[in-house]
Amino acid sequence: MSGAKPLPPVDDDTRAWWEGLHRGVLLLQHCRACGSVQVYQRAMCGCCLGGDLEHREASGEGTIYSFSTVYRPPSAEFKDDVPYTVVLVELSEGPRMLSTLVDMAPDAVRIGQRVQIVYDRVTEAITLPRFRPLASSATTP
Protein backbone atom coordinates (compact mmCIF):
# COMPACT_ATOMS: atom_id res chain seq x y z
CA MET A 1 0.00 0.00 0.00
CA SER A 2 1.17 3.52 -0.71
CA GLY A 3 -0.88 5.93 1.39
CA ALA A 4 -4.55 6.16 2.22
CA LYS A 5 -7.16 6.03 -0.51
CA PRO A 6 -10.04 8.47 -0.44
CA LEU A 7 -12.77 7.28 1.94
CA PRO A 8 -16.37 8.46 1.69
CA PRO A 9 -17.22 11.31 4.09
CA VAL A 10 -20.58 9.98 5.26
CA ASP A 11 -23.38 12.50 5.86
CA ASP A 12 -27.05 12.49 6.85
CA ASP A 13 -28.15 11.92 3.25
CA THR A 14 -25.95 8.91 2.72
CA ARG A 15 -25.60 7.29 6.17
CA ALA A 16 -28.15 4.54 5.50
CA TRP A 17 -26.35 3.53 2.30
CA TRP A 18 -22.96 3.20 3.98
CA GLU A 19 -24.33 1.53 7.15
CA GLY A 20 -26.21 -0.93 4.96
CA LEU A 21 -23.12 -1.79 2.98
CA HIS A 22 -21.16 -2.25 6.21
CA ARG A 23 -23.58 -4.95 7.35
CA GLY A 24 -23.68 -6.53 3.92
CA VAL A 25 -26.86 -5.06 2.46
CA LEU A 26 -27.29 -2.86 -0.60
CA LEU A 27 -30.10 -0.40 0.14
CA LEU A 28 -31.84 1.56 -2.61
CA GLN A 29 -34.10 4.52 -1.97
CA HIS A 30 -37.66 4.02 -3.17
CA CYS A 31 -40.08 6.96 -3.34
CA ARG A 32 -43.45 6.06 -1.84
CA ALA A 33 -45.11 8.89 -3.76
CA CYS A 34 -43.94 8.30 -7.33
CA GLY A 35 -42.26 4.89 -7.22
CA SER A 36 -38.89 6.20 -8.40
CA VAL A 37 -35.78 4.27 -7.31
CA GLN A 38 -32.59 6.27 -6.87
CA VAL A 39 -28.83 6.09 -6.52
CA TYR A 40 -27.34 8.18 -4.88
CA GLN A 41 -29.12 8.68 -1.56
CA ARG A 42 -30.81 12.03 -1.09
CA ALA A 43 -33.10 13.64 1.45
CA MET A 44 -35.70 14.02 -1.30
CA CYS A 45 -36.84 12.14 -4.37
CA GLY A 46 -34.88 13.36 -7.41
CA CYS A 47 -37.99 12.74 -9.50
CA CYS A 48 -40.88 14.36 -7.55
CA LEU A 49 -39.00 16.07 -4.65
CA GLY A 50 -41.16 14.13 -2.18
CA GLY A 51 -39.60 13.34 1.18
CA ASP A 52 -41.31 10.01 1.80
CA LEU A 53 -38.46 7.71 0.90
CA GLU A 54 -37.96 4.16 1.98
CA HIS A 55 -34.73 2.16 1.92
CA ARG A 56 -35.31 -1.30 0.51
CA GLU A 57 -32.84 -4.11 0.21
CA ALA A 58 -31.73 -4.60 -3.39
CA SER A 59 -30.91 -7.85 -5.12
CA GLY A 60 -27.27 -6.83 -5.45
CA GLU A 61 -27.32 -8.07 -9.03
CA GLY A 62 -27.01 -6.22 -12.27
CA THR A 63 -25.30 -6.06 -15.64
CA ILE A 64 -22.18 -4.26 -16.78
CA TYR A 65 -23.40 -1.14 -18.62
CA SER A 66 -19.86 0.04 -19.36
CA PHE A 67 -16.35 -0.40 -18.03
CA SER A 68 -12.79 0.83 -18.34
CA THR A 69 -9.66 -0.88 -17.12
CA VAL A 70 -7.26 1.60 -15.54
CA TYR A 71 -3.55 1.09 -16.20
CA ARG A 72 -2.29 4.49 -15.07
CA PRO A 73 -3.29 5.12 -11.44
CA PRO A 74 -5.08 8.42 -10.72
CA SER A 75 -2.85 8.92 -7.68
CA ALA A 76 -0.14 7.10 -5.77
CA GLU A 77 -2.71 5.47 -3.50
CA PHE A 78 -4.01 3.38 -6.38
CA LYS A 79 -0.58 2.39 -7.73
CA ASP A 80 -0.70 -1.12 -6.28
CA ASP A 81 -4.17 -1.77 -7.69
CA VAL A 82 -3.52 -1.33 -11.41
CA PRO A 83 -4.81 -2.71 -13.61
CA TYR A 84 -8.26 -2.41 -12.07
CA THR A 85 -11.57 -2.25 -13.89
CA VAL A 86 -14.03 0.55 -13.16
CA VAL A 87 -17.59 -0.53 -13.96
CA LEU A 88 -20.90 1.14 -14.39
CA VAL A 89 -23.36 -1.47 -13.18
CA GLU A 90 -27.01 -1.27 -14.15
CA LEU A 91 -28.77 -2.75 -11.14
CA SER A 92 -31.73 -5.09 -11.62
CA GLU A 93 -33.85 -2.42 -9.89
CA GLY A 94 -32.96 0.13 -12.61
CA PRO A 95 -30.45 2.69 -11.36
CA ARG A 96 -26.77 2.53 -12.22
CA MET A 97 -23.87 2.75 -9.81
CA LEU A 98 -20.11 3.06 -10.11
CA SER A 99 -17.78 0.46 -8.70
CA THR A 100 -14.79 -1.74 -9.48
CA LEU A 101 -14.65 -5.41 -10.43
CA VAL A 102 -13.04 -8.19 -8.45
CA ASP A 103 -12.30 -11.80 -9.45
CA MET A 104 -12.24 -10.99 -13.15
CA ALA A 105 -9.35 -10.64 -15.58
CA PRO A 106 -9.50 -7.31 -17.48
CA ASP A 107 -9.53 -9.10 -20.85
CA ALA A 108 -12.60 -11.11 -19.86
CA VAL A 109 -14.82 -8.12 -19.09
CA ARG A 110 -17.72 -7.49 -21.48
CA ILE A 111 -20.63 -5.06 -21.52
CA GLY A 112 -23.81 -6.98 -20.71
CA GLN A 113 -22.18 -9.43 -18.30
CA ARG A 114 -24.17 -10.27 -15.19
CA VAL A 115 -22.49 -9.25 -11.95
CA GLN A 116 -23.17 -9.52 -8.24
CA ILE A 117 -22.20 -7.25 -5.36
CA VAL A 118 -19.32 -8.06 -3.03
CA TYR A 119 -18.87 -6.24 0.27
CA ASP A 120 -15.29 -5.06 0.68
CA ARG A 121 -14.61 -3.98 4.27
CA VAL A 122 -11.82 -1.45 3.73
CA THR A 123 -11.74 0.05 7.27
CA GLU A 124 -13.43 -0.53 10.63
CA ALA A 125 -16.19 1.82 9.55
CA ILE A 126 -16.39 1.69 5.76
CA THR A 127 -17.36 -1.08 3.37
CA LEU A 128 -17.09 -0.38 -0.35
CA PRO A 129 -19.40 -2.11 -2.80
CA ARG A 130 -17.53 -4.08 -5.47
CA PHE A 131 -18.82 -6.46 -8.12
CA ARG A 132 -17.82 -9.89 -9.34
CA PRO A 133 -19.19 -12.10 -12.12
CA LEU A 134 -22.48 -13.71 -11.16
CA ALA A 135 -22.15 -17.43 -10.68
CA SER A 136 -23.49 -19.12 -13.86
CA SER A 137 -22.93 -15.75 -15.52
CA ALA A 138 -24.80 -15.38 -18.77
CA THR A 139 -24.25 -12.43 -21.07
CA THR A 140 -27.25 -10.41 -22.09
CA PRO A 141 -27.01 -8.16 -25.13
Binding site: P9, V39, M97
Partner: protein
Protein backbone atom coordinates in the same frame (compact mmCIF):
# COMPACT_ATOMS: atom_id res chain seq x y z
CA UNK B 1 -39.34 35.29 -33.26
CA UNK B 2 -38.23 34.75 -29.68
CA UNK B 3 -36.13 37.38 -27.94
CA UNK B 4 -32.53 36.67 -28.85
CA UNK B 5 -29.00 38.03 -28.79
CA UNK B 6 -28.30 36.60 -32.22
CA UNK B 7 -26.16 39.00 -34.24
CA UNK B 8 -26.25 41.66 -31.50
CA UNK B 9 -22.74 41.10 -30.15
CA UNK B 10 -19.36 40.62 -31.81
CA UNK B 11 -15.92 39.37 -30.90
CA UNK B 12 -13.61 42.26 -31.85
CA UNK B 13 -10.36 41.15 -30.27
CA UNK B 14 -8.47 37.93 -29.71
CA UNK B 15 -5.18 37.31 -27.94
CA UNK B 16 -3.09 34.31 -27.00
CA UNK B 17 0.04 33.69 -24.99
CA UNK B 18 2.62 31.16 -26.08
CA UNK B 19 1.47 27.63 -25.19
CA UNK B 20 3.11 24.36 -24.24
CA UNK B 21 5.79 24.55 -21.59
CA UNK B 22 6.06 28.21 -20.54
CA UNK B 23 7.89 28.12 -17.21
CA UNK B 24 8.18 30.82 -14.58
CA UNK B 25 4.79 32.44 -15.14
CA UNK B 26 1.68 32.53 -12.98
CA UNK B 27 -1.88 31.62 -13.91
CA UNK B 28 -2.72 35.31 -13.51
CA UNK B 29 -0.04 36.23 -16.04
CA UNK B 30 -1.52 33.88 -18.65
CA UNK B 31 -4.90 35.59 -18.19
CA UNK B 32 -3.49 39.10 -18.18
CA UNK B 33 -1.00 38.71 -21.02
CA UNK B 34 -3.64 37.16 -23.30
CA UNK B 35 -5.97 40.02 -22.40
CA UNK B 36 -3.28 42.62 -23.12
CA UNK B 37 -2.75 41.08 -26.56
CA UNK B 38 -6.52 40.90 -27.22
CA UNK B 39 -7.00 44.57 -26.28
CA UNK B 40 -4.14 45.55 -28.58
CA UNK B 41 -5.69 43.43 -31.35
CA UNK B 42 -9.02 45.19 -30.86
CA UNK B 43 -7.39 48.60 -30.52
CA UNK B 44 -9.32 49.13 -27.29
CA UNK B 45 -7.96 50.92 -24.25
CA UNK B 46 -8.39 49.03 -20.98
CA UNK B 47 -10.33 51.98 -19.55
CA UNK B 48 -13.16 51.05 -21.90
CA UNK B 49 -13.51 47.52 -20.47
CA UNK B 50 -16.39 47.27 -18.00
CA UNK B 51 -16.85 43.51 -17.85
CA UNK B 52 -14.57 40.53 -17.31
CA UNK B 53 -15.31 36.81 -17.29
CA UNK B 54 -12.82 34.03 -16.74
CA UNK B 55 -12.63 30.38 -15.74
CA UNK B 56 -11.13 28.69 -12.72
CA UNK B 57 -7.43 27.89 -12.42
CA UNK B 58 -6.16 24.58 -11.04
CA UNK B 59 -2.93 26.28 -9.99
CA UNK B 60 -3.87 29.73 -8.66
CA UNK B 61 -5.46 29.86 -5.22
CA UNK B 62 -7.78 32.83 -5.82
CA UNK B 63 -11.41 32.49 -4.76
CA UNK B 64 -12.28 35.41 -7.04
CA UNK B 65 -10.23 34.62 -10.12
CA UNK B 66 -11.97 37.16 -12.36
CA UNK B 67 -11.36 39.91 -9.79
CA UNK B 68 -7.73 38.92 -9.35
CA UNK B 69 -7.28 39.14 -13.13
CA UNK B 70 -8.92 42.55 -13.43
CA UNK B 71 -6.82 43.88 -10.54
CA UNK B 72 -3.63 42.60 -12.22
CA UNK B 73 -4.68 44.55 -15.31
CA UNK B 74 -5.64 47.66 -13.35
CA UNK B 75 -9.28 47.39 -14.39
CA UNK B 76 -12.28 47.91 -12.10
CA UNK B 77 -15.16 46.30 -13.98
CA UNK B 78 -18.84 46.59 -13.10
CA UNK B 79 -19.61 43.10 -14.42
CA UNK B 80 -17.42 40.17 -13.38
CA UNK B 81 -17.58 36.45 -12.77
CA UNK B 82 -15.61 33.23 -12.74
CA UNK B 83 -17.51 30.50 -14.53
CA UNK B 84 -17.31 27.00 -13.18
CA UNK B 85 -18.86 24.54 -15.60
CA UNK B 86 -15.58 22.71 -16.24
CA UNK B 87 -14.77 22.19 -19.91
CA UNK B 88 -17.99 23.87 -21.05
CA UNK B 89 -16.82 27.16 -19.53
CA UNK B 90 -15.31 28.31 -22.84
CA UNK B 91 -18.40 28.48 -25.04
CA UNK B 92 -20.63 29.22 -22.04
CA UNK B 93 -18.61 32.34 -21.18
CA UNK B 94 -19.00 33.75 -24.69
CA UNK B 95 -22.76 33.20 -24.45
CA UNK B 96 -22.88 34.89 -21.05
CA UNK B 97 -20.72 37.82 -22.20
CA UNK B 98 -23.00 38.30 -25.21
CA UNK B 99 -26.07 38.19 -22.97
CA UNK B 100 -24.54 40.75 -20.62
CA UNK B 101 -23.78 43.12 -23.48
CA UNK B 102 -27.15 42.62 -25.18
CA UNK B 103 -28.99 43.23 -21.90
CA UNK B 104 -27.02 46.36 -21.03
CA UNK B 105 -25.14 44.93 -18.06
CA UNK B 106 -21.87 45.74 -19.80
CA UNK B 107 -20.53 47.52 -22.89
CA UNK B 108 -17.19 45.85 -23.51
CA UNK B 109 -16.43 42.49 -21.95
CA UNK B 110 -13.10 40.69 -21.75
CA UNK B 111 -13.44 36.91 -21.71
CA UNK B 112 -10.14 35.34 -20.75
CA UNK B 113 -8.75 32.14 -19.35
CA UNK B 114 -5.24 31.04 -18.50
CA UNK B 115 -3.48 28.45 -16.39
CA UNK B 116 -0.12 26.77 -16.08
CA UNK B 117 -0.93 23.17 -15.30
CA UNK B 118 2.29 21.96 -16.92
CA UNK B 119 4.81 24.23 -15.20
CA UNK B 120 2.81 25.33 -12.17
CA UNK B 121 2.07 21.91 -10.76
CA UNK B 122 3.50 18.44 -11.09
CA UNK B 123 1.75 15.99 -13.36
CA UNK B 124 0.77 13.96 -10.30
CA UNK B 125 -0.77 17.01 -8.67
CA UNK B 126 -2.53 17.91 -11.90
CA UNK B 127 -4.05 14.46 -12.11
CA UNK B 128 -4.86 14.55 -8.40
CA UNK B 129 -6.71 17.83 -8.89
CA UNK B 130 -8.80 16.16 -11.56
CA UNK B 131 -9.45 13.08 -9.42
CA UNK B 132 -10.69 15.21 -6.59
CA UNK B 133 -13.23 16.66 -9.02
CA UNK B 134 -15.27 13.46 -8.74
CA UNK B 135 -17.86 12.76 -6.03
CA UNK B 136 -15.99 11.90 -2.80
CA UNK B 137 -18.55 9.26 -1.77
CA UNK B 138 -19.80 7.53 -4.88
CA UNK B 139 -16.94 7.92 -7.37
CA UNK B 140 -13.54 8.89 -5.95
CA UNK B 141 -13.14 5.84 -3.62
CA UNK B 142 -13.11 3.68 -6.75
CA UNK B 143 -10.14 5.43 -8.33
CA UNK B 144 -12.20 7.15 -10.99
CA UNK B 145 -9.77 9.14 -13.11
CA UNK B 146 -11.32 11.84 -15.29
CA UNK B 147 -10.09 10.00 -18.40
CA UNK B 148 -11.90 6.92 -17.08
CA UNK B 149 -15.16 8.88 -16.92
CA UNK B 150 -14.82 9.62 -20.63
CA UNK B 151 -13.48 6.14 -21.34
CA UNK B 152 -16.74 4.66 -20.02
CA UNK B 153 -18.61 6.66 -22.65
CA UNK B 154 -16.24 5.58 -25.44
CA UNK B 155 -16.47 1.92 -24.45
CA UNK B 156 -20.24 2.14 -24.62
CA UNK B 157 -20.08 3.87 -28.02
CA UNK B 158 -17.91 1.03 -29.32
CA UNK B 159 -20.41 -1.48 -27.94
CA UNK B 160 -23.51 0.18 -29.36
CA UNK B 161 -22.17 1.28 -32.75
CA UNK B 162 -19.10 -0.82 -33.47
CA UNK B 163 -16.73 2.14 -33.24
CA UNK B 164 -13.15 0.87 -33.41
CA UNK B 165 -9.89 1.81 -31.65
CA UNK B 166 -8.48 2.64 -35.10
CA UNK B 167 -11.28 5.15 -35.73
CA UNK B 168 -10.63 6.77 -32.34
CA UNK B 169 -6.90 6.90 -33.10
CA UNK B 170 -7.57 8.66 -36.40
CA UNK B 171 -8.84 11.68 -34.45
CA UNK B 172 -5.44 11.98 -32.71
CA UNK B 173 -3.65 11.60 -36.05
CA UNK B 174 -5.80 14.30 -37.67
CA UNK B 175 -5.30 16.70 -34.75
CA UNK B 176 -1.54 16.18 -35.00
CA UNK B 177 -1.60 16.93 -38.73
CA UNK B 178 -3.51 20.12 -37.98
CA UNK B 179 -1.09 21.15 -35.22
CA UNK B 180 1.79 20.85 -37.68
CA UNK B 181 0.24 23.80 -39.56
CA UNK B 182 -0.31 25.89 -36.42
CA UNK B 183 2.64 28.03 -35.30
CA UNK B 184 3.51 27.44 -31.65
CA UNK B 185 1.60 24.18 -31.22
CA UNK B 186 2.88 22.01 -28.39
CA UNK B 187 3.09 18.71 -30.27
CA UNK B 188 4.04 18.60 -33.93
CA UNK B 189 5.86 15.29 -34.51
CA UNK B 190 3.80 13.28 -37.01
CA UNK B 191 2.01 10.22 -35.66
CA UNK B 192 0.16 7.30 -37.23
CA UNK B 193 -2.82 5.24 -36.14
CA UNK B 194 -0.36 2.46 -35.30
CA UNK B 195 1.60 4.87 -33.07
CA UNK B 196 -1.56 5.74 -31.15
CA UNK B 197 -2.51 2.11 -30.66
CA UNK B 198 1.05 1.25 -29.60
CA UNK B 199 1.25 4.04 -27.03
CA UNK B 200 0.80 3.12 -23.37
CA UNK B 201 -2.70 2.24 -22.25
CA UNK B 202 -4.12 4.71 -19.72
CA UNK B 203 -7.70 3.55 -19.26
CA UNK B 204 -9.31 1.32 -21.87
CA UNK B 205 -9.91 2.12 -24.69
CA UNK B 206 -7.70 5.21 -24.29
CA UNK B 207 -3.95 5.12 -24.87
CA UNK B 208 -1.70 8.04 -23.98
CA UNK B 209 -2.08 9.43 -27.50
CA UNK B 210 -5.89 9.25 -27.26
CA UNK B 211 -5.65 11.68 -24.33
CA UNK B 212 -5.21 15.45 -24.44
CA UNK B 213 -2.06 17.25 -23.38
CA UNK B 214 -1.15 19.02 -20.16
CA UNK B 215 -0.01 22.55 -20.99
CA UNK B 216 0.51 26.15 -19.99
CA UNK B 217 -1.34 28.84 -21.89
CA UNK B 218 -3.83 31.67 -21.92
CA UNK B 219 -6.29 33.14 -24.37
CA UNK B 220 -8.60 36.14 -24.31
CA UNK B 221 -11.34 37.86 -26.29
CA UNK B 222 -12.91 41.30 -26.38
CA UNK B 223 -16.64 41.47 -27.05
CA UNK B 224 -18.89 44.43 -27.63
CA UNK B 225 -22.20 45.27 -29.26
CA UNK B 226 -22.57 44.85 -33.02
CA UNK B 227 -23.16 48.62 -33.32
CA UNK B 228 -19.90 49.48 -31.57
CA UNK B 229 -18.07 46.69 -33.40
CA UNK B 230 -18.23 48.74 -36.61
CA UNK B 231 -15.82 51.26 -35.07
CA UNK B 232 -13.13 48.65 -34.43
CA UNK B 233 -10.26 47.98 -36.79
CA UNK B 234 -10.71 44.21 -36.65
CA UNK B 235 -13.18 42.24 -38.75
CA UNK B 236 -16.04 41.52 -36.35
CA UNK B 237 -17.08 37.94 -35.68
CA UNK B 238 -20.71 37.88 -34.58
CA UNK B 239 -22.25 35.65 -31.94
CA UNK B 240 -25.19 34.18 -33.85
CA UNK B 241 -26.29 31.45 -31.48
CA UNK B 242 -25.61 30.05 -28.04
CA UNK B 243 -26.97 27.08 -26.15
CA UNK B 244 -26.11 25.06 -23.08
CA UNK B 245 -27.13 21.82 -21.42
CA UNK B 246 -26.37 20.41 -17.99
CA UNK B 247 -27.70 16.89 -17.86
CA UNK B 248 -26.13 15.31 -14.76
CA UNK B 249 -23.19 15.52 -12.38
CA UNK B 250 -22.44 11.85 -11.77
CA UNK B 251 -21.51 9.65 -14.68
CA UNK B 252 -23.81 6.93 -13.26
CA UNK B 253 -26.75 9.32 -13.46
CA UNK B 254 -26.31 9.96 -17.20
CA UNK B 255 -29.37 8.72 -19.05
CA UNK B 256 -27.19 7.79 -22.00
CA UNK B 257 -23.43 7.61 -22.40
CA UNK B 258 -23.63 7.97 -26.18
CA UNK B 259 -26.28 10.64 -26.77
CA UNK B 260 -25.37 13.70 -24.74
CA UNK B 261 -26.46 17.18 -23.74
CA UNK B 262 -24.53 18.41 -26.79
CA UNK B 263 -27.58 17.55 -28.84
CA UNK B 264 -29.68 19.96 -26.76
CA UNK B 265 -27.06 22.72 -26.52
CA UNK B 266 -26.35 22.63 -30.26
CA UNK B 267 -30.03 22.52 -31.22
CA UNK B 268 -30.55 25.63 -29.10
CA UNK B 269 -27.57 27.38 -30.68
CA UNK B 270 -28.61 26.47 -34.23
CA UNK B 271 -32.18 27.57 -33.57
CA UNK B 272 -31.08 30.93 -32.18
CA UNK B 273 -28.86 31.41 -35.22
CA UNK B 274 -31.52 30.20 -37.65
CA UNK B 275 -28.93 27.86 -39.13
CA UNK B 276 -28.34 24.15 -39.56
CA UNK B 277 -25.29 21.90 -39.11
CA UNK B 278 -24.87 21.78 -42.89
CA UNK B 279 -24.35 25.57 -42.91
CA UNK B 280 -21.18 25.37 -40.80
CA UNK B 281 -17.87 25.82 -42.62
CA UNK B 282 -15.52 25.09 -39.74
CA UNK B 283 -15.78 23.76 -36.18
CA UNK B 284 -13.99 23.70 -32.85
CA UNK B 285 -14.92 20.62 -30.86
CA UNK B 286 -13.63 19.93 -27.35
CA UNK B 287 -11.27 17.03 -27.96
CA UNK B 288 -10.21 16.08 -24.45
CA UNK B 289 -10.16 12.49 -25.74
CA UNK B 290 -10.37 11.06 -29.24
CA UNK B 291 -13.73 9.39 -28.66
CA UNK B 292 -15.24 12.65 -27.49
CA UNK B 293 -14.96 14.05 -31.02
CA UNK B 294 -16.58 10.92 -32.47
CA UNK B 295 -19.63 11.30 -30.24
CA UNK B 296 -19.78 15.07 -30.73
CA UNK B 297 -19.80 15.07 -34.55
CA UNK B 298 -22.97 12.99 -34.17
CA UNK B 299 -24.65 15.06 -31.47
CA UNK B 300 -23.73 18.34 -33.19
CA UNK B 301 -25.53 17.09 -36.29
CA UNK B 302 -22.60 16.63 -38.68
CA UNK B 303 -23.40 12.94 -39.17
CA UNK B 304 -25.99 10.43 -38.02
CA UNK B 305 -25.85 8.80 -34.58
CA UNK B 306 -23.44 5.90 -34.67
CA UNK B 307 -21.61 7.07 -37.78
CA UNK B 308 -19.03 9.20 -35.99
CA UNK B 309 -16.33 6.54 -36.26
CA UNK B 310 -16.52 6.08 -40.05
CA UNK B 311 -17.00 9.89 -40.38
CA UNK B 312 -13.68 10.77 -38.72
CA UNK B 313 -11.88 7.86 -40.40
CA UNK B 314 -13.04 9.10 -43.83
CA UNK B 315 -11.32 12.44 -43.30
CA UNK B 316 -14.51 14.43 -42.82
CA UNK B 317 -13.03 16.46 -39.93
CA UNK B 318 -9.97 17.67 -41.81
CA UNK B 319 -9.32 20.07 -44.68
CA UNK B 320 -11.46 19.17 -47.67
CA UNK B 321 -13.77 17.11 -45.48
CA UNK B 322 -17.33 17.83 -44.45
CA UNK B 323 -16.40 19.94 -41.40
CA UNK B 324 -12.74 20.87 -40.81
CA UNK B 325 -12.43 20.64 -37.04
CA UNK B 326 -9.82 22.02 -34.63
CA UNK B 327 -7.64 23.31 -37.44
CA UNK B 328 -5.10 24.38 -34.79
CA UNK B 329 -4.68 20.84 -33.45
CA UNK B 330 -7.01 21.00 -30.47
CA UNK B 331 -6.44 19.77 -26.94
CA UNK B 332 -4.81 16.65 -28.35
CA UNK B 333 -1.92 18.44 -30.08
CA UNK B 334 -2.10 22.26 -29.82
CA UNK B 335 -2.46 22.77 -26.06
CA UNK B 336 -4.60 21.87 -23.06
CA UNK B 337 -3.86 24.08 -20.06
CA UNK B 338 -6.99 22.88 -18.24
CA UNK B 339 -10.05 25.12 -18.33
CA UNK B 340 -8.44 27.46 -20.92
CA UNK B 341 -8.18 24.58 -23.40
CA UNK B 342 -11.63 25.07 -24.88
CA UNK B 343 -11.04 28.80 -25.35
CA UNK B 344 -8.37 28.04 -27.96
CA UNK B 345 -11.05 26.37 -30.12
CA UNK B 346 -12.89 29.69 -30.10
CA UNK B 347 -9.74 31.62 -30.95
CA UNK B 348 -9.10 29.31 -33.89
CA UNK B 349 -12.63 29.59 -35.27
CA UNK B 350 -12.42 33.40 -34.92
CA UNK B 351 -9.18 33.38 -36.92
CA UNK B 352 -10.76 31.16 -39.57
CA UNK B 353 -13.73 33.50 -39.88
CA UNK B 354 -11.42 36.52 -40.09
CA UNK B 355 -9.45 34.75 -42.81
CA UNK B 356 -6.30 34.90 -40.70
CA UNK B 357 -5.55 31.17 -40.29
CA UNK B 358 -2.47 31.35 -42.46
CA UNK B 359 -1.31 28.00 -43.76
CA UNK B 360 -4.46 26.27 -42.57
CA UNK B 361 -7.23 28.60 -43.76
CA UNK B 362 -10.54 26.99 -44.73
CA UNK B 363 -11.25 28.94 -47.91
CA UNK B 364 -14.24 31.23 -47.65
CA UNK B 365 -15.18 30.23 -44.09
CA UNK B 366 -18.19 32.35 -43.06
CA UNK B 367 -19.87 30.29 -40.34
CA UNK B 368 -18.34 28.33 -37.51
CA UNK B 369 -19.42 26.29 -34.53
CA UNK B 370 -17.59 25.85 -31.24
CA UNK B 371 -18.61 23.18 -28.76
CA UNK B 372 -17.19 22.93 -25.25
CA UNK B 373 -17.93 20.16 -22.77
CA UNK B 374 -16.79 18.73 -19.49
CA UNK B 375 -17.09 16.09 -16.81
CA UNK B 376 -17.93 13.08 -18.97
CA UNK B 377 -20.53 15.08 -20.91
CA UNK B 378 -22.00 16.51 -17.70
CA UNK B 379 -21.71 20.02 -19.14
CA UNK B 380 -22.19 21.13 -22.74
CA UNK B 381 -22.13 24.56 -24.36
CA UNK B 382 -22.31 25.47 -28.04
CA UNK B 383 -21.87 28.76 -29.88
CA UNK B 384 -22.39 29.60 -33.54
CA UNK B 385 -20.21 32.39 -34.92
CA UNK B 386 -20.36 34.17 -38.27
CA UNK B 387 -18.95 36.95 -40.40
CA UNK B 388 -22.36 38.59 -40.96
CA UNK B 389 -24.85 39.79 -38.37
CA UNK B 390 -27.72 37.93 -39.94
CA UNK B 391 -25.82 34.66 -40.38
Amino acid sequence: MARSLSGEVAIVGVGETPVGKVPGKSALWFNAEATRVALRDAGLDKSQVDGLLTGTSFVAPFHRMSVAVSEYLGIQPTFSNTLEVSGATAAASIGLAAAAIHSGLAEAVVVCCGDNMLSGMTRDRAVQALVSSRDPQYEAPFGLLVPTTFALTAQRHMHEYGTTPEQLAQVAVTMREHARRAPGAQMTAPITVADVLASKMVTTPYHVLDCSLVSDGGVAFVLTSAERARDFRTKPVYVLGAGESYSQEHIFCAESLTTTGARISSERAYRMAGLRPADMDVAGIYDCFTGTVVTMVEDLGFCAKGEGGPFVAAGEITFGGRIPTNTHGGLLSYAHPGIPGGFFHIAEVVRQLRGEAHGRQVAGARLGLVHSLGGGFATNATIVLGTERNG
